[in-house]
Symmetry: D2
């Protein structure tokens, strides 16, 4: 049981409740601004980005922000307890013109390439010397290396710093950052990343952050479907789901998906599976990450039979109405029709 | 790191080192026999069974044993610090004639059917009234239910009690038992099972122990190949294996296979992957368990795409020279040829 | 092109049009009964069985029939141009009491076991000496061997004779029969089977007919999903479906599924894909056959990675609303949502 | 049987024997050169390319050739019955400087990009106005479109024209060409392609030739493994391989792999499986083509579960000693160890 209790605790602060380390959350209505902290550029205020930006503000940073959605910018500009600590501008170039340290959090490779390299409006068109660019998007490692090459031509540095952990980890500053870049750049970036996350790991040169993210999410994507199959099969064989989960979690079948994010409704409280698979990490996003894993595997000639099958299953789910549901809806996808309805 | 340190500790006593709870191991040369303990029948003294039987003896039980291998019987008969505490006989029937409480640990369904039902030599041909039969083999749940039906015709009871944990868990009395049977039978069996294992879980009626075992091992078999793919891909992408393992184990990719039984040589000490995949849980055995999972899934019409693919991969490994290696050799199977040699 | 023209011709008589060999079809309103022909027993008048029985009648056989559905019996009893040539009875035993030569066409293993072995009502409870039992159901080869063993105890013979070809091949007497049994039994059975089909192949001893059927349908199930993937991918890459089919059919991608049963709507006329996947061979039936293939593969320790995945995909389709559609609806299952609706 | 006889005939001229249409082969020792025929550039004289080039020469074309291997160039320069009809040069640029019509046959995307775009030595650095570039390599459709774009900047045209059919089809001028390009360019190219192949199909705009090739080879790769599984399973179930092949080829399991290229040794003469999988189409090449299919599927968000699994199986074979064997060695890969040796 020990490991089960521990699991659900970890689960609690990892995903929903307030973590001890996050007590500053209770200060939302009275953030103190230590004027000593740098003003940072932040581009990309989506489901993840807006939480990450808020945590920087709560910690006392001022931000110059850009997002294609004016609403997204307005929302954070007006966040409670923050006066004049967020300035909105009209392009990535405008951010680069005002800030030497910029964090980007974007959906996919092509968005990163556009935000960084667009003529006139991209970061590189207005970048200052000795800037530090921190890209937390999950993209093709090769694209990260391209951006790093251009940055160094501009006498600046770039690190790839993709995250592990979903929307709630972003909100609770409980993310894990996997960082690829030169040691000095990593040190600089770490100062900001540690404000938004709990673990900041230096993985090696530029691109290895993406590599680590891709490998983690491939294994996660595999384990989640595997857990869904095991829970569904066990239920059909007459096992009570909570009991089966307990057995798996104290045995060799134990994994993050069975322990803290179980896909079977009713086994754990507060996870997407107990909320009709609303919230969490969308199936379309998992499909995208597994697409990156497949490309990387093809380029490096690495066999990934399970990773490829997982990719295809999420792909079919995405084209069958599960795109917007949490990826743990693999459980629902595998269920009998009557169970589904 | 916290969870990593914890992981390797758990790993240590789960797999190799001496566990605090197993300090009686140090008494091998001076086991005390409390004459109060029942004499038990034990059939099947293979890699797992001989360790389980020894733990019963160490705790003070006398045993009447049978195995098709005379050597296996002789070895335990002559175990150090045990005088006249093990009696060998010539058939399962002979065991049943002398003992009312019998534990069986056999390779597969057909062996269980033979040991229990053979005319003249099987358990049922000499069973006494009110006997308790505890089968720890991993077999088809339907076969367990057949045995239970015959047992009750003989005014006796039967429980299926398959185990989780390998040879070392058997040696260290650290097994998990998943038990299917009537509550009263479970209580009786629990007394003996707790001597041989750390967790004894009541899963429901006869057959649910097998169901739990099948579901756990299916998920284990999936996670192990998934972990092998992630470790191999990461290495090819330039990540240092120990670092990648650390990242997975503090992120959502974490699973038993990555944490305590990592398939990549050099990441953990004392696991099969660091011993050329010698010892541990053979690929042929995992293939057999996944065959049971596939049959159960077909009968219950449960989709198990990842479980089926895992079954097929271990099947190919089994017919390609990996049958006797630990199932974590999936990592080696997926590697490039030069890396293999 | 040559092979394409040939393909569609073959397609025509294989599935829909009248084949030269089937000109007796035109006699539906005036069947001549050559009194010389034996009266046969026929059990199982479903989608396939009723067509097979009709062809026997058209050829001049009288039948004693049984089906669990009284309507099914009435329908054939009242078929046009047939007076007093079909007698309905109340059980398989009644059939066996009147006929020495009996053909059975049933859904699955358990139905065959019931029809043959039920006490009092089963075939074996009233079988006459020197009877010939011809089972055209697709079942577990091991079950066929059991039936054969009981038959020989009754001084009778049994052959397994599963079919290839769908409802239309049954209607047009264009089936292929794969027969397992002793040479003498095969010769006797062949006389009747050739009335219902175009190819009657002796595969070897009892059980090999099922083996051949299982292997054929496994490959068919694989090719159909593969063809669906190729057609869907090609369409997304800008290829016109009819052109792509033509290319595949004149190249090494050619298979029965691409040539005569293309799953992409509009490529061929008169196939299920051009009829909203109505008619043809149901996904649930293909799933059942692939379940038999998986069991046989597990028992013989044969790796079937593609066969297992195909099984799982049809399994998921079956539990997602495709159970009653033709198995070529795999194409629809893989399509984008908008394309689906 | 009909279709079987037909199959083996087709097989004969498609793969090994002399086809009636190829009687010009008998003229090897006395090729007539109609001086009217254009001099063509030819780049890439590998297993496929050297046969294609020879057929152009046999038909009366003079060639200006380049290959990275001097031996490859010398061999064709010295081909029997050809005096001064082949000129060798030092770079693709030299070819382009002398010829307006150039055919390229290269291993992979990067080689095509190098041969066409290298500064100073590439085709584009010396291309003449109104040139026609015909690339028969199998590459990423996107790369074909890039080449076409550059060609049109140089007032020239480009078509992608990948082939179906192996080394023997190349030798016997029995290839199928799948061509993507503008109608006018197609017409020009067709004149030369029809000399080297039997079918020349216009698939649509630039890139669709590659798309057709990718779809065909994906289905071929799937069917070959499926056929291997069916043949291996059938053999284990007691079926005689030649009989099983006959049954499949007259039933719905029929495919090119079962009919004309059966992977089971001894079923057909003259195919790689009857020659220890020597010759034919290497597993590494099939793996490469399936990698292209996977990339195209990811880009177009098309699910290809079977295609992905086939990719992974050939990938594992490639890293397990099968890289240089014909891809039908999938049969051997799936066999039991004893059967293998």
């Amino acid at each position: 049981m020990a490991s089960l209790r521990k699991a659900s605790t970890r689960f609690n602060h990892l995903l929903w409740q307030q973590s001890p380390k996050c007590s500053n959350l209770s200060l939302v209505n009275g953030v103190k601004h230590m004027s000593s902290l740098e003003t940072l550029g932040f581009i990309g205020l989506g489901n993840m980005g807006n939480h990450m930006a808020r945590n920087l503000v709560k910690k006392g940073h001022k931000l110059v922000v850009f997002d294609v959605s004016k609403n997204a910018m307005k929302t954070i500009e007006n966040m409670e307890g923050c006066e004049n600590c967020v300035q909105t501008v009209n392009s990535p170039a405008d951010v680069a013109a005002q800030c030497k340290h910029i964090i980007t959090m974007l959906p996919a490779t092509q968005h990163v390439q556009e935000v960084y390299t667009s003529r006139g409006t991209g970061i590189f068109s207005a970048i200052q010397e000795n800037s530090l660019l921190v890209d937390s998007s999950t993209i093709d490692p090769a694209a990260s290396q391209e951006m790093a090459a251009i940055a160094s031509e501009k006498d600046s540095s770039y690190v790839d710093a993709p995250v592990s952990g979903g929307v709630n980890a972003a909100r609770d500053a409980a993310l894990t950052f996997m960082v690829g870049g030169a040691p000095k750049s990593f040190e600089m970036a770490q100062k900001y990343l540690s404000v938004m996350g709990r673990n900041v790991v230096h993985c090696g040169p530029v691109g290895t952050g993406q590599a680590a993210k891709i490998c983690n999410n491939m294994l996660l994507g595999i384990s989640m479907i595997g857990t869904s199959e095991a829970m569904n099969l066990g239920k059909k064989l007459g096992l009570e789901p909570k009991l089966l989960a307990k057995i798996l979690n104290t045995s060799s079948g134990r994994c993050w998906s069975s322990e803290v994010y179980n896909p079977c409704p009713g086994v754990l409280d507060g996870v997407p599976s107990s909320n009709n698979y609303y919230g969490g990490f969308g199936t379309a996003l998992m499909t995208k990450d597994l697409g990156l894993a497949n490309n990387a595997a093809t380029v490096t000639k690495s066999p990934i039979p399970m990773g490829s099958l997982a990719h295809q299953i999420y792909r079919i789910m995405t084209s069958s109405g599960y795109a917007g549901k949490d990826f743990s809806s693999a459980y629902k996808f595998l269920q009998d029709q009557e169970d589904k309805s």
